[in-house]
């Protein structure tokens, strides 16, 4: 025990044994205390009771309620008094008392029966003026009717202390205790601990007459705010309109994104169409030019051949000139081939075939055209897999990759290194196969690598700049793609990826 507490307690006990002290305390209490005998005459009245009635204790003693209250009021008091006196039950009520001066007071009244040691019974009545308290309570209740929030006070024992009209509306108009509990239970099923634990959450509830509503529910959790037991204040904020706005906003955002996507798709489709149109024009133009140029090239080649044969034994020393003519014809022919390859927009003719077997033939044929010092490695990894492809188109892509690699290495200022080699390999991953051509040449500088896919871009003195775009175009036409990786000083890797399953359009072709 706290030091000194024992001493003070003993001192209080000693003082209270003095009746004057005790009566002084009773007179100073704000609660009115009155003791009535079995005839319901006042035998004791403290000062607060005297003030309620407006008489001195001396005037009250021996008198009874009927002498001071208006008759109906007095009758009601006396009936209750008798009930408590005769049956000994506790009486506890709030009542409005109007004295004979017409002044009303809200009283919290408690009545109980006392029995003296000599067997006489008395009635102890206490009255607490709760008018101010109730006025404040009414103010708060009025306040809850002015805010757009449903409010309910729920006692821990389940009784509803108070609820405002908005809350009652959520109960679908059923403002019976059960009706309001049904709604509170709906909220409770959406959040653990509700309403006993302080919490705040969003949920949807279906309300009779209102339909589905989105609400924020807030509970204070159990707390001591009532006169007896704990209760919780629960607030319900309807955010359905806000949610609807949010939903509309999200929908608008989604539609905007979709619109932007579609616009982008449309723009790219337009580009594609334009490009296709241009490519088709280019294709027709190129085909015409190819035909028109190859005829004279043919006669130039044949004529050079005739000259060579006619003057063979004459030792005119024109061999190198004739060779230049022949090389020129071949170069022109190669340029035409590249133009035709690039501008070719015709549908592919894809047939599933063993890619490894096919590639072996292509590489063997191409190897004959390459410098002997160049080592060609073929590493096949498809183990007999059949893949749909257009042989003449893919052959062009493979030849372009191999001749690019070969040219990259012959571009070296020094003679081709003995270890110069090109590795051609096949590989499959998931639903794609790859044909990869890698060299150990000088590699492509980063600034050039970024542009090699551009048509007409070339760093070669005799290049059309169409070789790589044609490879890419062939890969894309097959539904695949071209990857290019290069490291200056180490070499370059070209990889054409093809889908194992043909594009539907090609299957139809």
């Amino acid at each position: 025990m706290v030091v000194g507490a024992e001493m003070v307690k003993a001192e209080v006990k000693k003082r209270l044994s003095d009746p004057d002290v005790l009566l002084g305390i009773l007179d100073n209490l704000p609660t009115s205390i009155v003791v009535k005998n079995s005839d319901l005459q006042f035998v004791y009245s403290n000062r607060a009771h005297c003030e309620i009635i407006g008489k001195s204790e001396a005037e009250l003693l021996g008198a009874s309620d009927k002498d001071f209250w208006e008759p109906a009021q007095a009758k009601k008091f006396l009936e209750n008094d008798n009930l408590v006196l005769q049956q000994g039950i506790e009486f506890d009520t709030e009542e409005t008392a109007t004295n004979d001066a017409g002044l009303s007071t809200l009283l919290l009244t408690k009545k109980s029966r006392l029995t003296n040691s000599d067997g006489q019974t008395y009635l102890l009545v206490t009255n607490t003026d709760i008018s101010t308290l109730r006025k404040r309570e009414d103010q708060y209740k009025a306040l809850t009717e002015t805010i757009p929030v449903g409010v309910v006070q729920l006692e821990e024992d389940g009784t509803i202390g108070f609820s405002n009209q908005l809350f009652n509306a959520y109960c679908g108009g059923d403002i019976s205790s059960e009706g309001r509990h049904v709604f509170i239970n709906k909220l409770g099923s959406a959040h653990q601990g509700f309403p006993g634990l302080a919490c705040k959450f969003e949920t949807d509830v279906v309300v009779a007459g209102l339909g589905r509503r989105s609400v924020i529910a807030i509970s204070s959790g159990w707390m001591n705010i009532g006169s007896s037991g704990r209760s919780a204040i629960i607030s319900i904020i309807d955010i359905s309109e806000m949610m609807e706005l949010r939903r509309i906003n999200e929908e608008v955002s989604r539609l905007n994104r979709e619109l932007a996507d579609n616009m982008a798709k449309l723009a790219s489709a337009q580009d594609e169409l334009l490009k296709k149109g241009r490519m088709e024009q280019l294709g027709q133009l190129t085909a015409t030019i190819a035909h028109e140029l190859r005829n004279p090239l043919g006669s130039v080649r044949t004529s050079a051949f005739l000259i060579e044969r006619k003057l063979k034994d004459k030792a005119l020393g024109i061999e190198s000139q004739l060779e230049r003519i022949n090389k020129g014809v071949t170069r022109c022919d190669n340029i035409i081939t590249q133009l035709l390859d690039f501008s070719r927009t015709k549908q592919l003719f894809c047939q599933p075939a063993d890619l490894d077997v096919w590639l072996t033939e292509v590489v063997e044929e191409e190897a004959k055209r390459l410098p002997e010092k160049l080592n060609l490695d073929l590493q096949l990894g498809l183990s007999g897999k059949h893949v749909p492809f257009d042989p003449s188109r893919l052959q062009r892509a493979v030849i372009n990759m191999i001749s690019n690699a070969a040219e990259a290495m012959s571009d070296l200022k020094t003679p081709m290194a003995a270890e110069a080699h090109i590795t051609i390999s096949t590989y499959f991953k998931d639903d794609h196969v790859s044909v990869r051509v890698s060299d150990n040449g000088p590699g492509i500088p980063a600034e050039v690598l970024g542009r090699v896919r551009e048509p007409l871009f070339t760093t070669k003195s005799f290049g059309t700049g169409l070789g790589i775009p044609a490879i890419e175009q062939i890969a894309v036409q097959h539904g695949g793609r071209l990857d290019i990786a290069s490291e200056p000083g180490r070499g370059t890797v070209f990889t054409v990826w093809l889908p194992m399953k043909a594009l539907e359009a090609e299957m139809a072709a």
Binding site: A287, H291, E292, R294, N295, P296, S299, R301, F305
Partner: protein
């Protein structure tokens, strides 16, 4: 000893046709030149042709169509094609119809002469 052949060269490009004719004549073959498909058919009907070298794209009648007509009356006709660019559909038809082969222009002359030699053997 290889025999001498009657060779039909068909090409609307006169320089081409004539230079090829001269090439074959150098080896003493007899060469007939035609400048379109109709002339080619006529040349076949008037001459005994051992082997023909036909251009594809020509006025009046293209090489493949005239080849098909010749084949209809001369199933034994031996004909090669020469083309400036691959007209896949036409050439597929020609090869299916019994053409001996296709040379792309400008023609690789050593291969062309090989073909003539094998015809003459």
């Amino acid at each position: 000893m290889s025999r001498l052949l009657n060779i039909l060269v068909v090409d609307d490009d006169a320089a081409n046709a004539e230079s090829l004719a001269e090439l074959f004549q150098m080896d003493n073959h007899r060469v007939i030149v035609a400048y379109d498909g109709v002339q080619a058919i006529e040349a076949f009907s008037l001459n005994k042709v051992d082997v023909g070298f036909f251009d594809v794209m020509m006025p009046n009648k293209n090489g493949v169509d005239s080849f098909m007509e010749i084949k209809a009356t001369n199933p034994e006709a031996r004909i090669y094609f020469m083309t400036g660019y691959s007209a896949d559909d036409l050439l597929d038809k020609a090869v299916a119809g019994g053409a001996l082969g296709v040379f792309s222009k400008p023609v690789d002359l050593s291969k062309l002469l090989q073909a003539v030699e094998s015809e003459a053997a």
